[in-house]
């Protein structure tokens, strides 16, 4: 996941602009990645996922890009809206789960949409 610090990275964008949120993942052998959105006071919500055999995947207003060379994942949100304000974090799945089938989570980025 991301390099964890005491404070979340923040990103402020104007309503209607595109947003790009980045994540550096830790395991070069991870084969599956997920982006989550977490609004204040709520549980993480699945947004989009991508497998390691892909470098791009598009959803509704969101696109995930995967660069395995530099272990980097990005989430692009088109035409950002006030309802997009939230913390966004990535998760990675190592190739061999073991019995836990555990994901590794980044600490996230706080996205604020300005009017």
């Amino acid at each position: 996941g991301e390099n964890v610090g005491l404070h979340l990275p923040t990103l402020s964008v104007q309503e209607g602009d595109n947003s790009i949120i980045n994540c550096a993942y830790s395991n070069s052998a991870s084969d599956y990645f997920i982006w989550y959105k977490q609004e204040s006071g709520k549980g993480p919500q699945f947004i989009i996922d991508i497998r390691s055999n892909m470098d791009k995947r598009q959803g509704q207003r969101v696109t995930v890009l995967l660069n395995k060379t530099v272990k980097h994942l990005s989430l692009q949100i088109a035409a950002t809206q006030p309802g997009d304000s939230a913390v966004y974090f990535c998760a990675e799945k190592p190739p061999r789960f073991g019995s836990a089938r555990q994901l590794t989570f980044g600490s996230g980025t706080q996205l604020t949409v300005l009017p």
Partner: protein, 114 residues
């Protein structure tokens, strides 16, 4: 929300008291997880379950125990709550679609230990 509910949603308790949090799912998922979320940290796994009466420890299991006597319920117990266990606790289930494995989360329980 994958049919996940957590109870209570908020709790205030005193140091040294036992606390039990409940996670309930309605879709018969085999894998269930308990995480805690604290400022500056990503979600950290406390315990997980891979079936009825089958549980194991995660990375931050000290001071916590779990039980799963029914598929639909996964209980997290703080044997003797400490202030360091003040946190937001999330339950999750895992859904596999082919080789993709996605976790879906409940709404969380905010716990304050005084």
């Amino acid at each position: 929300d994958a049919g996940i509910t957590q109870s209570p949603r908020h709790k205030v308790t005193e140091t040294g008291t036992p606390v039990t949090l409940r996670c309930h799912q309605t879709e018969n998922h085999r894998y269930m997880y308990w995480y805690r979320q604290d400022p500056g940290h990503g979600l950290r796994l406390i315990h997980y379950s891979y079936g009825v009466k089958d549980t194991d420890k995660g990375e931050v299991s000290d001071g916590y125990s779990v039980s799963r006597s029914k598929t639909e319920d996964f209980l997290l117990t703080l044997e003797s709550a400490t202030s360091s266990q003040t946190s937001v606790y999330f339950c999750a289930i895992s859904i596999a679609v082919g080789a993709s494995e996605t976790q879906y989360f409940g709404p969380g329980t905010r716990l304050l230990v005084l």
